[in-house]
Symmetry: C2
Subunit: 190 residues, 2 copies
């Protein structure tokens, strides 16, 4: 039941609509949780029903009205309890890794292409996260910010995301190079 807590955690930084949350779940929040918009709207409805968030209607002229949500005291308490409870271990689940596992038995050509695409995507995400981190910490340097910044949660999770993407990019490039080299060496046996 961690989607619920991911939403609460994301709402700690202000009031957001389901639509805005969906954006956040594509960038910063994506570093620790992934969810589709439909899930978020449904979860927000449940959270409101349970009194963990409160929503208010905002009427807009030029675009559709929206509902902004904020965490209630009960919601904060729920997060507190969640933080104190045991975590389950995290897992990688990745199509591409499945393909690499099978690669030298089923043909490497398409996998090499995908590895390189992934590396590019990771690179783009690295840029994005680096910019986000700079923005979050403002002028001060990282050490200083981490010690004295008043809100460091999102920064810390972005750091994790950044490290993950770098790792991912490097691995993809390395493996692509290895597979290419092997193809060269055995000149097209596969």
């Amino acid at each position: 039941m961690a989607l619920r807590h991911a939403v609460l955690a994301a709402l700690l930084d202000g009031e957001f609509s389901g639509y805005q949350l969906a954006k956040a779940f594509d960038i910063g929040v994506a570093n620790f949780w992934h969810a589709l918009p439909q899930q978020l709207y449904a979860e927000l409805a449940r959270l409101e029903r349970d009194g963990l968030v409160a929503g208010r209607q905002v009427v807009q002229e030029t675009r559709p009205n929206k509902r902004l949500f904020r965490v209630t005291e009960a919601g904060r308490a729920e997060l507190e309890a969640f933080a104190a409870a045991a975590s389950k271990p995290s897992f990688i689940r990745d199509d591409l890794l499945v393909k690499v596992q099978a690669a030298d038995r089923v043909g490497t050509a398409p996998v090499i292409g995908q590895l390189e695409e992934r590396a590019s995507a990771a690179e783009a995400k690295i840029e994005l996260l680096s910019a986000l981190l700079r923005q979050l910490r403002g002028d001060v340097d990282e050490e200083e910010f981490l010690l004295r910044g008043e809100r460091i949660g999102p920064y810390l999770t972005c750091l994790r995301g950044l490290a993950f993407e770098r790792e991912h990019r490097d691995w993809c490039l390395r493996i692509a190079a290895v597979l290419r080299e092997r193809r060269r060496a055995t000149h097209g046996e596969r």
Copy 2:
């Protein structure tokens, strides 16, 4: 539908029973996919029904009989098609990261403990994977093995798992240190 392909990929290295696969999904295969034994048995049944794997009964004296499965030609073709199709991006989904995101708003004490536990767990996994890698490559060094080894798929995915665990351990320790330092600096405001 990647569990199905993860199972096929795992079966590329020999005949395994559901029980043995469950073990593999706890160690090596866990580097790219996670599944509970019940899922594996169910998936193996479906795969057999669809002709992608073939099972045979092995009668044992001192323990329960088992069924060993191997990938059929159709199964190999299925994997080939899967490898050629587009992959979906991979996501981290981690309870603990949710807690870190919320940490400076809901109390850091329990989170620090969990970060340090996680770091230990990651350390153990690092040992395990390092040993597994040594075993997979035998005497030769990595460069040599990757270039000329005949089966490198599992090695490559373990490399990814190892990098992930190292990254994870380092991040956990870093964040735990940061949170501890902040507690010290503000002496128990939270």
